[in-house]
Amino acid sequence: MPSGCSPVRCLCLLLALSALTPSAQAADDGRDPIVVKDPHYGEVLFYFYQEDYFPAIVRVLAAKERQQLDDHADDAELLLGGMYLSYGHHLEAAEIFERLLADNVAPDIRDRTWFFLAKIWYQRGYLDRSKEALGFIQSELPKNMQREALMLEAQILIDDGEYDTAIEKLQRWEGETEWASYAKFNIGVALVRLGRIDEAARLLDELGNLDPFNEELTSLRDKANLALGYALLQDGQALAAKEPLQRIRLEGPFSNKALLGVGWADAESESYERALVPWMELQGRDLLDPAVQESMLAIPYALAKLDSISQAADHYLNAIEAFYEETSRLDRTIQRIESGEFFDEFIQDDPLDSTGWYWHLEELPEGPEARYLFHLLAKHEFHEGLKNYRDLSYLYRNLDRWQQNVDVYANMLETRKEAYNERLPRVQDALARADLEGMVNRKLEYDSTLNNIEESNDWLALATKSEFEMWGEITGLESTPALQADIIEAEEVADKIKLLKGVLQWDLERDFRERLWRVRRDLRQTGEALVETQRLRRQIDESMRLELLKFEELNGRVSGLAPRIEGTKMRLEDALSKQRVFLQSIAIGELRAQKQRLDRYTIQARFALAAIYDIAATVGEVSE
C-alpha cells in the first residue's frame, strides 16, 4: 500500500487544522490565529501538541466537568474525538464524530474523517463499521483518497468472499497510480481464487514487468511475479513459471520462495542439476522460512534423482539434525511464552511513555524468541493485541499510582478534620463572647436617643464632658443662695454667671447641628461595621457548617474512588490475562504449526533416508 501518514496521524492533523489554528501555523497560511480564550483549553493543547494524549484527554474531561471550556466547547469536543482516536479509543471517538460531524464541520473534513475512521476500523477488524463509515461519505473525496476508499471497499468485499463484486469494483479503476498497481494485483489474486488463471496471468504478468520507482512497488512487483510463477507451476506450466520467478530480486522478502520455485520448475523438467543451484543458495538462509526448510528436503531429493545417494543421505541427515535443533528452540520458546514470562518481561522493559495507535515496537526484546517474534509481529491481530496489552499495562500502572495517592488523601483529610475539631471549640468560645446582638440593640438605642435629641433640639445632650461639667457648675452656681442676697456684688456675680451660661448655651446651640451630624455619621459607620461583622459571622457559621459537609463530601469521594480503583484494577488484571492468553494462543499456535511442519519434514526425511538405506542394502546384496 502506498506510504503516507498513518490514518490516525492524518486524522489528528486534519482535526488540528479544522478545530485549531495555532498561531504559528495560522501565521504561515495567512489565517487569523484563534486566540486561546481559556488557559484550561491552552493547557489541553500543551499536552496535545506534545502527543501526550492521556493527560490531555483527562484535562479536557476535567475542564468539561467544571464548565471551564465554554469559549472553546466545539473545538474541544472535536479535539477530544481526535485525541481519543490517537489514544486508540476509537469507539468513543466515533460517538463524538457521529454527533459533531453532522453539522458542525465542513463537508470535506467530515467525509475525510469518515474515510480515516473506515481505515482505522478495517485495521482493527471492525469490518461492518468500516463499511458503514464508507457509506457515510457523501461528497467526492480528493482523488488519492477516493482510490484508497475504493480499494478499501473492494478489500471488505474480498474479505466477505464476494470476489466477483470486488473484481467488478476494481475493474472500474481510473488512472495509472500506485493504487492502480495494487488494484491490479488484488484483481489478479481474486481471479486466481476463482480459477480464472489465464485472465489472472495477464494482469500479474503486466505487474511483474512494471518499472517500479519506489521500494513498495518493487515489493509489489516481486509479489506479482511470485504469485504468477506459482500459479503457472500449479497449472503445469513449469517452463513458463521460471521467467516471472527469475524476475524476483535475490535479496527481497520473496526471494526464498522464488528460489525454491525456480528449483521446482527445473525439477519438473527433470533438470535436477539446474534445480540444485537455487536450492543450494537457500542453504545458508534463515531456517525459520518454510522455503528454506523445504529446500533442505528438495536438495537430497534432487541428489537422489541424480544417483548421488550417499550425498543425498548426508543432506537428509543434516536436515533431520537442523529440524531437530529448530524444534528444540521452538519448544523452549513455546514453554517460555506459555509461562507468561515473555510478556511480563516485554512490558517491564518497555518504558510505556506513549500509548495508543502511534506505538510501534522499535526494538525487539533480547532472547531466543526474538526471531520468532519478528515473524509474529507481521500478524495483524498479534501486533494490535500487543498494543492493547501494552495500553492495559499502562492503565494498570496509572491506577496503581492513583491508589497510593488516594490513601494519602484519606490520611490528609483525616488529619485536617482532627485539626479542625481541635480548633473549633476555641473559635466557638471566642464567637460566643462576642455579643453581636447586644451591640446591635445598643446601636438601635443610640439611634432612638439621637432621634429624641434631634426632635427636642436637646443641644446640651451633645455637649462634651467638660462643657457638660461647666454647664453643671454654672447652673449650680446659679442656684447658690448667696446670689439671692440683695447686695450689688451678688447681682454682679449673677450677671456674670448668666453671661457665662448664655455664652456656653450659645456655643452649644451653634455647634448642635454639626455635632448631631458627626454623631449620626459615627453611628452610621458603627451600623455598617456591625452589618459587616454580622455578615462575617454568618460566613463563619456557614463555613463551619459547610466545612463539615465538605469533609463529608470529600471523604465520600475518596472512599468511593478507592473501591472504583480497586474494581477497575481487577478488571484490568482480568483483561490483561485474557489479552495475554489471546497473544499466547496466536504465538503458540503459530509456533506449533511451524513445529508440526518440521515434524512432518523430519518424518519425510527419515522415510527418504530409510529408503536410501534400503536401496543401498539391496544394491550391496545384489553385488555380493
Binding site: A27, P39, R124, A593
Partner: protein, 198 residues
C-alpha cells in the same frame, strides 16, 4: 511432492496487497491448498472475532480509567488547592521569534516557588498555542507580589534574562495568572506580559 509443495506455497502467496494484509503469511498444511486456505480464512475470521471482543473490553476499560482519572484529577485539585485559596500560574507564548525560552522562575511574595526548565518539545507546544500550568498555590486573600524571571536566547541568539512583576489582589475564589511571552515586532524584542483571569 512438487504439486503438493506448490499448492502449499500458493496459499501463502495469494494474500491480498493492502496495508492490513500485506505481511507475508506462513504457509499452510499441504493436503489441499484450497481447503486449507478456506480453513485458514475461517481461523483468521475466528481470531479476528476474538480480537474484536477483547478490543471492545479494552475500549470499555479505557473509558472507565479515563473517567476515573478525571474524577481523581478533580479531587486532587480540590483537596490540595481549595477554590477559595487557589491561584494558578500559566505560561503562554506568542510566535517566539525573538525569544527562545529555556526556563522560568517564579517568586511569590519574595519566596521562590517554581523553577521550570523547558524541553524543546514543550517550547514547541507553547509556540503552537499550548499553555503550561507552571505552578499552583494556595494564597490568602489580600495583596501579593509576583516576580517572574524568564531565561533563554534573545535576538541574535544572545543569552537573555528578563523579569516581570505583578501586584495582584487575591479575593475569594480561584485566580488564574497568565504570563505571556510575545514578540514586539517594532522593537524586535520579546515582551513579557502578565494577565489576570478570574
Amino acid at each position: 511432492m512438487t504439486n503438493k509443495l506448490i499448492s502449499l506455497l500458493l496459499a501463502a502467496i495469494f494474500t491480498f496487497a493492502t496495508a492490513a494484509l500485506a505481511e507475508p503469511a506462513a504457509p499452510m498444511d499441504a493436503a489441499s491448498a484450497m481447503a486449507d486456505a478456506v480453513s485458514a480464512e475461517a481461523a483468521e475470521s475466528a481470531s479476528r472475532q476474538e480480537f474484536r471482543s477483547l478490543d471492545q473490553d479494552v475500549q470499555s476499560l479505557k473509558k472507565e480509567v479515563l473517567d476515573l482519572n478525571r474524577d481523581l484529577f478533580l479531587l486532587e485539585e480540590e483537596l490540595l488547592f481549595p477554590a477559595n485559596s487557589q491561584v494558578a500560574f500559566f505560561i503562554s507564548m506568542d510566535v517566539g521569534e525573538y525569544f527562545d525560552l529555556d526556563s522560568v522562575s517564579l517568586k511569590i511574595d519574595g519566596k521562590e516557588v517554581a523553577n521550570y526548565l523547558y524541553t524543546a518539545r514543550e517550547t514547541d507546544a507553547l509556540i503552537r498555542g499550548g499553555v503550561h500550568r507552571l505552578h499552583m498555590a494556595n494564597l490568602k486573600t489580600g495583596d501579593h507580589e509576583l516576580i517572574a524571571i524568564f531565561s533563554g536566547k534573545g535576538p541574535h541568539v544572545r543569552d537573555y534574562r528578563r523579569g516581570a512583576t505583578l501586584s495582584f489582589d487575591k479575593g475569594i475564589g480561584a485566580k488564574y495568572v497568565e504570563l505571556e511571552i510575545t514578540d514586539r515586532v517594532k522593537k524586535q524584542q520579546p515582551e513579557f506580559v502578565i494577565r489576570e483571569w478570574e
